[in-house]
Amino acid sequence: MTRTLVSDDILEPGTGKAFELIKGQVMRIEQVKGGQCVDFNAYNLHDYKEFMHCGRTRTVHGFNPSEGDFLWSQPPRENALMYILRDTYGRNDVLFPRCSAYLYESAYGFHDHTNCNDIQAEAQREYGLTPDDVHDSFNLFMCTEVTQDGSATITRQASKAGDYVEFLALMDVLAIPNVCGADIMRTSNFALKPVQITIWEATDEELAAVPKVPVLRSQRTPDQFRNSQIKATRELIRDPGYVPQFTNVPIVETVLDIPLTPELAKGFDQRADRGLYGDDDGAALRDILFTWWEQKFLNAASGAPSLQSTD
């Protein structure tokens, strides 16, 4: 089965464009000459307060999301907005922020310079969004590394003409790619090049191949928010009627007395992390307990949500 073409555009250097991508449509972002980084934002088309969240995406898929991964929205929505259907180069980044005018002024002395924040903002303005709405970017065709000392670096890239990333929309989204404005960094090998944006209707086979993701009670919608109104003024003013309603507060501890046989006590003393917990046996045992639980029952990376579908 072949795809039905919806649109085909070229993004010139220094530009970006907002595209309405309807659920079930595929957006391909393709290298025209090769070696060009593309910054990317995505919003729920019907509620711009839900957007692609690099932090959530990073915890699920790591620093370099690629083919087979999802683009997630922020807590407490945590919906899969898009699915990466294909990725011929395989180097994308959710570690670095978008470049900004500040960067080029502070580090290079430019008064005006192409930069992803301003390009994104200008492209999003077509849909009424402001520069404050630009979110952390998903950086396509961007090679980054975390070094052993914990710092992050950008390296040159080797994508070629024809390399592409394809996103399948899992809900109606506003998808905004922009040609990264960094021409004096390694990001795009010190040059700005155009990219091609093509949109199709996905085939039934492509839709059927998307893995199922959990649908959970904790994924809240605005009507479940204690404050569901979007704030429309800029100044922050305290609500005198505010009464905190934090979850599961107060946190109350209960003591369990755990009797150990001499043999278990000996094993415990060998196992307890005295360097961390000193002579606090309770803390050491708690650590052993939950470390065991993680090994035995946790079906996701530490700190990441599980993608195990319940249906």
């Binding site: 209960t254 007395d257 278990l264 415990f268 196992r271 309770g282 045992l285 307990l289 029952f297």
Partner: protein, 54 residues
């Protein structure tokens, strides 16, 4: 040399909050132990059996 005496059992006071207890209770429901204490002892036994790095 004094006659060998049996070492008395030792008790560890394990503080857990309501959320941690809930996780233990849900784990007990899955069947590996019949009580919170038994689950803790199972975790400790398994950890000791695994040995290796802490």
């Amino acid at each position: 040399m004094p006659p060998e005496q049996e070492t008395p059992n030792r008790t560890i006071r394990l503080s857990l909050n309501q959320q941690q207890l809930e996780l233990l209770d849900r784990t007990v429901e899955r069947g590996p132990a019949t009580s919170r204490k038994e689950l803790v002892l199972l975790a400790l036994s398994d950890a000791i059996a695994q040995g290796g790095a802490k």
